[in-house]
Amino acid sequence: MIKTFIFGLVLGIAGAAVAVAYVPVVDQHREASIIAVTPNGGNSETFHINIPMDRIMVGSPARRQPLPVGLQWPVDDGLANLRSELFKVRNQRDAVIGVASRMASKDDVAGEVLEWVLHFPARGSMYISMQSNAGEGGHRVGRIRTGSGEFEGYQGSLTERWVADTSGSEDAPAGRIELVSRFVGAGEEL
């Protein structure tokens, strides 16, 4: 019986070791990416944010109704011109694939600042500085400053524009923020 116990002991140690080594503790869900190849050799991916459904937070001293309800935005002169927003981000199939932070501010040192950080679990993140003024058709263009994960080492741009809903459907969003990223590998021209 002792021999059986010792055999079980070894089996238990080996089984636990194999389980800890090979059974994944974290297995992130992945939506298939919808990436288009652009004529210059780079690639492009389009995301959107349905407003107001995907808005997690709007932090701004100018806002009378805080979002979410109960948010106590700090009262400080330094933050008087800051508008900080958090969103869920969707792909072209309307599936949520990530989260985003958008910060807009104006101060004497940094000037007018408008930035995005897009974070896609299991893929990576992008940090984008936008032009403060919108161009023709309400497009605002920004430069991808850096990225992590699969976006590391890529250069490119992000275009932001507001698209109002015209469907007239009762449960349709008021509109969406459309974000189009265009990447090329480091060292290539966009």
Binding site: L11, G12, A14, V26, H29, E115, P121, S125
Partner: protein
């Protein structure tokens, strides 16, 4: 026959328990609690904040973990792609306790987690706004193994379902050399700046029901040398 089967099962259970105990007490998986930036000669900027969810401006996750979203009615990250992600917006303080700015942190459980190697990994990014100074992006791989081993698991073992003490640890474990995180400046005095960062936690109380109850976190960002501050190599 039955006695042999019972002996086998007892052996398997004892073997699995022995392996897990070895994993838990393995001294080779301890993290270094001293940040490489704290012993360097470069100037650093310290930003402190509370990692307690209810102290943040907004904290949200899938709503099913012990750390509850704050405020209560915040939109939750329940969709499959983001259900292992947390988003937090928090006030950042300088080393004198004054408000330094606002930071947004996204943290996702990492598939690089290897408990065998003492790696409970989280991939995180920060988006930071410091009024009158500029904006920053921080990218980190974080390892919570020491935190789990020395705070969370003892809290579960405790008869009062909590842990109290004084624990300090650096959670940043990459992606840079020496386990440093990466920081990239966006605007103002940080425009086109690239440097290193570490994040540490000083925990004082943890509850099984609510997660961290009393704790402070610190982001230490290495500032680049200014003109005239450069070290000249000697012949």
């Amino acid at each position: 026959m039955i006695r042999h089967l019972i002996a086998l099962l007892l052996g398997i259970v004892a073997g699995a328990a022995a392996f897990l105990a070895l994993l838990y007490f393995n001294p080779f998986t301890s993290q270094n609690n001293l940040s490489p930036l704290s012993v360097g000669s470069n100037e650093v900027m310290n930003l402190t904040f509370s990692p307690v969810a209810s102290d943040s401006l907004v904290y949200t996750n899938n709503g099913e973990t012990r750390i509850k979203p704050h405020p209560e009615k915040v939109l939750q990250l329940w969709e499959a792609s983001v259900r292992r992600t947390a988003a937090a917006a928090t006030v950042l303080y300088d080393s004198r306790g004054g408000m330094a700015g606002v930071g947004v942190k996204f943290s996702s459980d990492s598939e690089a987690t290897r408990l065998m190697n003492g790696e409970a990994m989280v991939e995180s990014v920060w988006h930071i706004y410091l009024p009158g100074r500029g904006t920053l992006f921080v990218e980190q791989n974080e390892n919570y193994w020491s935190y789990l081993r020395e705070i969370v698991i003892p809290a579960y073992w405790s008869s009062v379902d909590s842990w109290k003490g004084n624990w300090h640890g650096t959670i940043t474990a990459g992606p840079g050399v020496l386990g440093l995180g990466r920081v990239v400046g966006g605007s103002g005095e940080f425009a086109d700046f690239e440097s290193s960062v570490t994040e540490s936690i000083t925990a004082r109380a943890y509850s099984v029901a609510h997660g961290p109850v009393a704790a402070d976190s610190n982001l230490t960002i290495e500032l680049p040398l200014r003109v005239g501050q450069e070290v000249v190599a000697e012949d």
